[in-house]
């Protein structure tokens, strides 16, 4: 089990080496180093997983304390790793997908002047993420939570010389602060109620049915944690940062903003399931947020032109499904969808990166087209990812989304209806995307002259470097370091569902997670097989309809304003509304606080204290005359006063 330390140690070592030696390590070497470290972490995770697999289900939870971090009174917060089915499952796909994406980045980031810095961030991210999922208490996990937030900030703003990237990074960071507020309040409440942050103290008795917790307390803690999860996982009402986060390099979008970090909220909710069990209200909130988000984001994704923004809104929408599954009480379904989504969304982003790379940093789908003839590896890979995302059987997304929708049906038909509508929209926007990118006329030839050599995304060194990389003008597939991860992920997107197939005893993930979600944590329910068939057929019908519509409507014309209503293109004006609110009343309030409250009151108080101290000093200085007679007089008066006091007291 000591391999558990290596899961954390490998990426940490990589990050430290790249942080201090990054300038000396040249172009491909730092990438390979980072890949090796990520791969080492993955292998260590597999070893731990195999060890746990060799044990009976009830004893698959091991707590490895490294050292006590904060011994404060009765509170002992430790740096400790909790190895159990949930954390190891997350760790497996974080390090596995992380390795593939790090490897892909070697090709993608080639020639970037800050090559090593990029891989430092990637390793630091993987380190923080495994801390987040492996920590044995909420506070240590919160450390990883902040760590991934920092790496996300650094990577979204990786090309910080572009204003839009710097602004997007700031937006992601600030939005996440709102969620952190919730997380921290939840921590305080937890400390007040349980006196500890350790999962073994807080959650284990609840999960084992030994303890109960008042509904109001459970709801308050849960809602605050959900606020944290909502910010990190880009759900309503804090999803706005994720589409903007696409300013980062594409591998970052794949790793952090699709496959792993944004699922931290899903992890947090799954981890907190024993508390949620006591709060039906919180479960309703999670399910409603999930259903609402998956529909809303899907509608916005239908009208985006930027290939990555479509995928970004799609990610928001898909995480909505995960929340929906968890809120409906079927945690396994939500987690199953998380893993499947990690496969196919990482694949889609990497394939999109491959397309962007081939077209010299062109991201607008309306300036693509006909690429299936030029990208023989990327095209089938993208199609596999697209079919998985669109939930077309037998690809990944179909199975996991089906389970989520079954649970949603059991919770409420309204939630189910939103989910199914979202599924239809998903198929529509994905088919629109592949139609625009891979079919039709090749519009990139004409547009290449329009926007010149600088590229409209203006990525500094990267654009120039990829020019050097491609000898010919025609787009072609990327080097093998980029295509190998694509192929592996395409296979995973096509066959990954076998990890949890609903027949033939193949439901490995369900069985693996069963010890984490006993009936005292998630009340078991069954949806009859007949109902499942009907629901599955209806959902698939929606998906196929969406697919047909997308493929049909976008066959000829590229610009169809009727299909791209402005209010969707503006994301329901939610962003604009928030911007107006922030720049209007909020900005006025901030100005008032800044110039009136801060300058006059706060500064006034501080300066007043200083001034009164100085004044008191000036007055008191007069006492120190340096004349012996003054001192003698003071002594005399003092003595007389003391004597008077003593004699009066003695007299009374």
């Amino acid at each position: 089990m000591n391999a558990a330390y290596l899961i954390v140690a490998f990426p940490l070592a990589g990050a430290i080496i790249l942080l201090f030696g990054g300038r000396k390590i040249t172009d491909p070497v730092s990438g390979w180093l980072a890949t090796a470290m990520a791969a080492g972490s993955f292998v260590a995770t597999v070893v731990v997983w195999a060890t746990l697999l060799g044990r009976p289900g009830s004893s698959r939870s091991v707590d490895k304390t490294i050292f006590t971090w904060m011994p404060v009174g009765t509170l002992h917060v430790s740096f400790g790793l909790q190895l159990d089915p949930l954390s190891i499952l997350w760790s497996l796909f974080v390090t596995g997908v992380g390795t593939l994406i790090t490897m892909y980045s070697i090709g993608y980031m080639r020639g970037d002047p800050s090559f090593s810095r990029f891989f430092f961030y990637l390793n630091a991210f993987i380190f923080s993420m495994v801390i987040l999922v492996l920590a044995d208490n909420y506070l240590f996990s919160f450390l990883g939570w902040e760590g991934v937030g920092f790496c996300s900030y650094g990577l979204v703003g990786f090309w910080f010389d572009r204003d839009s990237a710097a602004v997007a990074a700031k937006k992601a960071f600030v939005t996440n602060r709102v969620g952190d507020f919730g997380f921290m309040v939840a921590l305080y409440l937890m400390f007040a109620h349980f006196g500890s942050f350790n999962y073994s103290v807080v959650l284990a008795p609840l999960a084992a049915g030994h303890a109960t917790i008042a509904t109001s307390t459970a709801t308050f803690i849960s809602v605050m944690l959900v606020l944290g999860a909502v910010a990190k996982s880009a759900q309503i009402p804090l999803y706005m940062w994720l589409p903007d986060a696409m300013e980062g390099p594409t591998p970052v979008s794949a790793l952090i903003h699709a496959a792993t970090m944004v699922t931290a909220g899903v992890y947090l909710i799954a981890r907190t399931a024993p508390i949620l069990h006591f709060s039906p209200d919180a479960q309703w909130i999670i399910a409603s947020i999930g259903a609402g988000t998956c529909f809303l984001a899907a509608t916005i994704a239908c009208v985006q032109d930027d290939i990555k923004r479509v995928l970004a809104y799609s990610t928001v929408s898909q995480i909505g499904y995960m929340f929906l599954g968890e809120g409906s009480g079927d945690y396994q379904a939500g987690i199953y969808h998380t893993v499947m989504h990690a496969f196919f969304k990482a694949l889609l982003f990497l394939a999109a990166g491959s397309i962007i790379h081939a077209l010299h940093d062109e991201q607008n789908m309306k300036r693509m087209g006909n690429l299936r003839k030029y990208l023989p590896i990327t095209f089938p890979a993208f199609m596999a990812g697209m079919l998985a995302l669109a939930a077309i059987p037998p690809f990944d997304g179909f199975w996991s989304k089906d389970e989520v929708l079954d649970a949603a049906w059991h919770k409420s038909p309204v939630l189910w209806a939103l989910g199914v509508a979202g599924a239809g929209l998903t198929a529509y926007y994905m088919s629109r995307q592949v139609r625009l990118v891979f079919w039709g006329k090749s519009r990139w030839e004409t547009s290449a002259a329009d926007h010149g050599a600088a590229g409209d995304t203006g990525r500094g060194g990267h654009g120039a470097a990829s020019e050097v990389g491609h000898g010919s003008a025609a787009p072609h597939d990327a080097p093998w370091t980029m295509t190998v991860p694509l192929v592996i992920l395409a296979v995973a997107a096509t066959f990954g569902w076998l990890l949890n197939a609903p027949f033939g005893g193949l439901d490995f993930i369900n069985k693996w997670l069963a010890p984490i979600f006993p009936s005292t944590v998630a009340t078991p329910f069954t949806v009859s097989t007949d109902t499942k068939w009907v629901l599955g057929v209806v959902a698939t019908a929606f998906s196929l309809t969406g697919l047909a519509l997308g493929m049909g409507l976008w066959r000829k014309a590229v610009n169809r304003p009727a299909l791209e209503p402005a209010f969707l293109a503006h994301a329901w004006y939610i962003d604009d509304g928030i911007a107006a609110a922030v720049s209007g009343p909020l900005a006025r309030m901030a100005t008032r606080f800044s110039f009136v409250v801060d300058v006059r009151w706060v500064d006034g108080l501080v300066n007043g204290v200083a001034r009164s101290a100085a004044g008191a000093g000036r007055q008191l200085r007069r006492v120190q005359t340096g004349y012996v007679r003054n001192y003698a007089l003071a002594i005399g008066i003092g003595t007389a006063a003391l004597l008077f006091y003593v004699s009066v007291r003695a007299g009374s």
């Binding site: 340096g626 012996v628 005399g636």
Partner: protein, 101 residues
Amino acid sequence: MSVPSAWYLVLAAVLFTMGATGLLIRRNVLIMFMCIELMLNAVNLTFVTFARLLNDIGGQVDVLFVLVVAAAEVVVGLAIIVALFRRRAAATADDIHILKG
């Protein structure tokens, strides 16, 4: 006939007050020094009076200690005063800072 004890105490209080007043209002170091001696001896007088009054030898013993300390003080104090007058003939207590090395 014996003198009542209160008279000794009153005398001591008068002497002490004179000494304290002199210490505060005079600037001549030598006079101030003598005033301190006056105060010390006023205190000695009360000690002796109370020793007699309470029939306790402790007060008289204390007087011996005070005399010893006063003698030591005279040695140090006069040395300083002499050093001061060597610097400046009309020196006062406020001029002691001129001795600062």
